[in-house]
């Protein structure tokens, strides 16, 4: 792994909480690492396993899903479903040793600009430390 490795992380942010949290981090001029490509979704429950697998199998070094805290979902229950789906996919990755640490779910509310910056910076550091997605070594799969 070269020391100047710059990870490519896909971030799925829920429109109502985490995307607004990201916005707040920006407007508060907080320092956020630049490795996250943000995709805005209406709810964290919009994320299905196919989207995450697409990102990882097509070369993303990490996937971050962020949504409203449990109990605060704009659609009341969406994030509970998201949490189950995440747990399911994470377990599959764990069982097959597919580097489950490359997938993370974090609750970030609209008022948590600081937490957003912390989550992204910490996850970016962790992924940088892990190095590139091994899929790059097996390009023909």
């Amino acid at each position: 792994m070269s020391s100047d490795f710059k990870p490519n992380i896909v971030g799925f942010l829920c429109n109502w909480c985490s995307y607004a949290g990201a916005d707040l981090a920006g407007s508060s001029k907080m320092e956020v690492k630049p490795y996250l490509s943000v995709i805005r979704v209406m709810c964290s429950s919009r994320i299905n396993s196919n989207l995450v697998l697409t990102a990882l199998l097509w070369g993303a070094d990490g996937v971050l899903i962020a949504g409203c805290h449990p109990g605060d979902c704009h659609y009341e229950q969406g994030n509970y479903y998201a949490r189950r789906r995440f747990a399911l996919l994470k377990k599959i990755m764990e069982t097959l040793k597919l580097e489950p640490d490359r997938l993370q779910l974090s609750w970030v509310s609209a008022s948590e600009g600081k937490r957003y910056a912390e989550v992204v910076n910490k996850f970016s550091d962790e992924i940088t430390k892990m190095g590139p997605n091994p899929i790059h070594k097996n390009p023909k799969i």
Partner: protein, 370 residues
Amino acid sequence: MAKALKINKNTEEGLLQLLEFLLDSEKVEGIFSLKKLNKNGNIAYSLITNKDELKGAVPLDPHMPVNAGKILSHFTLAEKTKRPVAAVLRPCELRAFVELIKRAQGSLENILLISLSCGGVFPIDTMNNGDAKKRSSSYAESLKKAENSPDVRKTCQSCDNFLPQLADMTVLTVGKKDADKECIIYLNTKQGENFAKDAPGNTISAEIESSETEKLKSKRKENKEKLFKDFEKTGNGISGFSRVFAACLGCHGCGEACPICYCTLCDFDSKTCEYKPESYESELEHKGGLKIPPGTLFYHLGRMSHMAVSCVACGMCSDVCPVNIPVADVFTKVGAALQDVFQYSPGKDIEEPVPSGTFKEEEFKEVGEH
């Protein structure tokens, strides 16, 4: 102690006698069972309404041409059967049927479920082999001793879930030493008892679980653990996983044969997953090389995330794979891990919701707090 029907005939004949009685007495309109197609030993699931047609029925034949759960789901999808039908199916097929009903893909109404303590089935591609007779007799001997027959599928040899859970009647085969002389059919439910009323034979009380079934269960548990460990040796990580599925043709036959994969249009057969010229182009741009057909790993991992939590471990996927990928080894292993996380047993309780369609507020508390 459960009630049971004792018939002084060999196990298969005893069951056939009961089926004939059910038809004769008009308690059921039809029988759903395996039936011989010809003298070569080919068999298929059949619906039988005429007593004469029952002659070639082989309800206990150790083959699974298709997972019967899937067939019964198709049969009852549009509407329930109007008249009662008795269906003879193996425990994993019954589990599959229950999982499909939970997904609104069928109905249990008017179906008398007859299952058996299951010794496993032979791989489909051996159905035409000339050694059918020899294999059947060695299979019968293994069953009597509650041992694994070496000829049955690998998945069956490591299946410790061989006692049916929701059957109305259960035919005893595992560890039945005098299977040539006597047939025991357990009546597990009120419905089972009602249907068997006045049937020829004596009613006795007996317990289906015995030291024999325990013996087979522990042997199979052992096999299962070994199977999972063996997979870890070769299949771990992205490189291992791609090695296991290296020969995949992308035919999606495993999904077609899988009883849990019920979607009329599978995500992976839809436009969303279609490769267009620009998809090849963009992928080649950053990968520099691409396996053709593409997307095979995506298919298996994706399908796994959709159905593995309900995997009934029937082994159809491995059986139909044209390039002999041990699909079922992977899916049963991941399925067991997922079922453990969600404390879920596929096909055990028809009222229990499918894990992906429900949630509890007080669960996975640690998730999301990073």
